[in-house]
């Protein structure tokens, strides 16, 4: 009689490991997350719309989005500079600085929050100095669509703590490692030969950087930017202290969620959350698609 056997795999443990993974993923992540979607599905559209289009929530969304965008944009050149120097130059203290890059990952956000707040407060190390140089910076504040097509107004801020500028500073702190850590390995692996090739073909150093190096780095810069942006959209711990939480002025969306929850307003909290969640999913999905696109062209 022929022995009966199923498709046998040489490496064992497929069923066990897959089972554990799916079960654990389901219990810890999928079921709780689905609660968010079911909860929001029970909301009617007008209910949802009332919550997310109220002036306070719109202001919070706008601020979250703006601050995250500004922070991610600032992190692009800063991150590129840091990654470049770490990857290309040898100098004393390089390894120390390289290790320090991950500080924002390792330092709990609450600590970062109170520290930044203190440094930038009027009596803090940097805050004091900013006062003496009469620092001021403009920011677009949400005003609401009261009859006009342009819902923002330009406001000048003269300090960092308790203003949108402070929020952006906290988000820059949080996002910097994302850009550095995506760009640095690409720079390290790139090798000098393509730059030497460009130089041998008569390109100036500047032309080489602009036409050869930068295009090679574009996928990494883009994903670093998007990762920093997505992280900043949802960031809470480092922002909650420095923002001061003035309604309509410095409340970011995650803070609104917490406030609604504190009053047991589950529906409101869920409505605000679902928009933020979808926005971060959208950003990360875009990164994924971009990376796939570059990978197909052999660039990732």
């Amino acid at each position: 009689m022929r022995p009966l056997f199923k498709q046998r795999r040489v490496v064992p443990g497929f069923g066990l490991s897959l089972g554990c993974t799916v079960l654990y993923l389901g219990v810890i992540v999928l079921i709780p997350l689905s609660a968010l979607f079911f909860k929001s599905a029970r909301l009617t559209w007008p209910q949802f719309k009332t919550v997310v289009s109220s002036d306070a929530v719109m202001a919070a969304y706008t601020l979250s989005f703006e601050a995250a965008l500004v922070a991610a944009l600032v992190n692009l050149p800063l991150g590129l500079l840091v990654a470049w120097v770490l990857a290309r130059y040898r100098f004393p203290g390089r390894r120390f600085l390289d290790a320090m890059i991950d500080l924002p990952f390792a330092l709990p956000t609450a600590v970062a929050g109170i520290t930044l707040t203190t440094i930038y407060s009027d009596s803090g190390w940097i805050g004091r100095w900013l006062e003496t140089v009469h620092f001021h910076a403009p920011w677009l504040m949400w005003r609401g669509f009261d009859g006009s097509w342009w819902p923002f107004e330009v406001q000048q801020f003269t300090s960092v703590s308790y203003t949108p500028i402070g929020i952006a500073i906290a988000l820059i702190f949080i996002g910097l490692p994302f850009v550095v850590r995506t760009v640095q390995p690409v720079l390290q692996d790139m090798g000098l030969d393509i730059e030497e090739a460009a130089a041998s073909l008569g390109a100036s150093r500047w032309q080489t950087l602009r036409r050869v190096v930068l295009p090679e780095l574009r996928p990494a810069l883009l994903s670093g930017f998007a990762l920093a942006f997505a992280r900043a959209l949802g960031e809470y711990g480092s922002v909650v202290f420095i923002s001061g939480n003035t309604p309509l002025q410095t409340e970011i969306a995650p803070i609104k969620i917490v406030q609604e929850l504190e009053q047991n307003h589950y529906a409101e909290a869920t409505s605000i959350a679902i928009v933020i969640l979808l926005a971060s999913f959208f950003v990360l999905l875009t990164v994924n698609l971009l990376q796939r696109h570059y990978a197909r062209r052999g660039m990732a």
Partner: protein
């Protein structure tokens, strides 16, 4: 220990790797599975080892008349040498070789002293005793190859299977190691099957060669049989260089331009297209015409080893390559651009349904 494979098929999704393949390897034989990449040779080897399962319901694998199809890789007692060696990178050479003994169930596991003795013997056999405490990353390719072999031999396998054993080595080491494998096989007498895409390697080492193409075994036989008497155009082409003459069958002979070849057992209908396969050393070059010969011009002459390779351009048709012994070439005093006549000493004609 003989190996028998009966009617094995294997597909990966839409790709058919093996189509109803049967093979018998006699006890103590050294057999090469030879073929281009994608021909199914590695899959066949892995099925013999139990690393791959044949398609559901197809065929069986027998070791010494015993059906082992349902046995897993660990139960089959095979020695398998992986293409990239698959050495355990965190273990020393000694620990790598000892692994197969150390993982045995307690009741059949040899004691420490025996394991130490057996491993030392094996390391001496493959002449790397001095490297016992090294890690794989500290070894050269040839040394890793020998560790892999010693590790496979440690479990006293009933058969030894090698997947492209010399594929990752450079040409010189490869030549040395394959002679050494042959001697090792003769000393130990273990039934051995190895996979290669290198015809020279197969011809030099193996007792018999199974030439594989497109999921099937095209021919199996001694090196002399497959080289001298290929049964298909594919085997002819895969084993060594070959000149092609395309023409039509007339009166049981192949007519190419003005020349004719005996078609032998080629089959095919009168007037149908056919191809003559001619090895370069079966091409003779002469200064004078001789009935059936083809006029050509000497295009290029190169000296490789004992033969002189002459590239000849006929008036019409493909270039012809001839391999002449050095004396013959000196005798003819050939120079580029000389007008000469080509004679075909022996040819094999196949119906033209094969394209190269």
């Amino acid at each position: 220990m003989s190996i028998e494979v009966r009617n094995i098929s294997k597909s990966f999704g839409a790709f058919q790797a093996l189509a109803d393949v049967s093979l018998r390897v006699e006890s103590g034989e050294l057999v090469a599975l030879l073929g281009p990449s994608g021909s199914g040779k590695t899959t066949l080897l892995r099925i013999i080892a139990g690393l791959e399962t044949p398609d559901h319901g197809s065929g069986s694998v027998l070791f010494h008349q015993e059906d082992v199809t349902a046995h897993n890789a660990g139960q089959r007692q095979v020695g398998f040498v992986f293409q990239h060696y698959a050495l355990f990178r965190h273990m020393t050479v000694f620990e790598n070789v000892a692994f197969g003994l150390r993982v045995r169930p307690r009741n059949v596991r040899p004691d420490r002293a025996t394991i130490r003795q057996r491993v030392s013997d094996l390391l001496r056999l493959v002449q790397i005793e001095a490297l016992a405490e090294r890690y794989p990353a500290q070894l050269s390719g040839g040394q890793r190859q020998r560790v892999a072999l010693a590790r496979a031999m440690a479990v006293e396998p009933r058969v030894l299977l090698l997947d492209e054993p010399f594929g990752a080595l450079d040409a010189k080491v490869r030549r040395e190691l394959r002679r050494w494998l042959r001697r090792l096989h003769d000393e130990t007498g273990i039934t051995t099957v190895f996979v290669t895409h290198d015809q020279e390697e197969a011809l030099e080492v193996a007792d018999r060669i199974a030439v594989m193409n497109k999921a099937r075994i095209e021919q199996i036989g001694t090196p002399e049989q497959v080289y001298e008497h290929p049964v298909s155009p594919f085997v002819y082409d895969f084993l060594g260089k070959v000149n092609l003459f395309r023409g039509r069958l007339e009166d049981g002979r192949l007519t190419v331009g003005g020349s004719q070849f005996g078609a032998g057992a080629a089959g095919g209908e009168e007037g149908s297209a056919a191809v003559a396969f001619v090895r370069p050393h079966d091409v003779e070059v002469a200064r004078h015409a001789n009935g059936n010969s083809i006029p050509a011009r000497v295009d290029h002459i190169s000296f490789v080893g004992p033969f002189v390779h002459v590239l000849l351009m006929p008036k019409n048709g493909e270039p012809i390559e001839a391999a002449l012994p050095r004396e013959r070439w000196r005798e003819l005093n050939l120079q580029p651009a000389d007008e000469v006549f080509v004679e075909i000493r022996s040819a094999r004609v196949f119906a033209d349904d094969y394209s190269i």
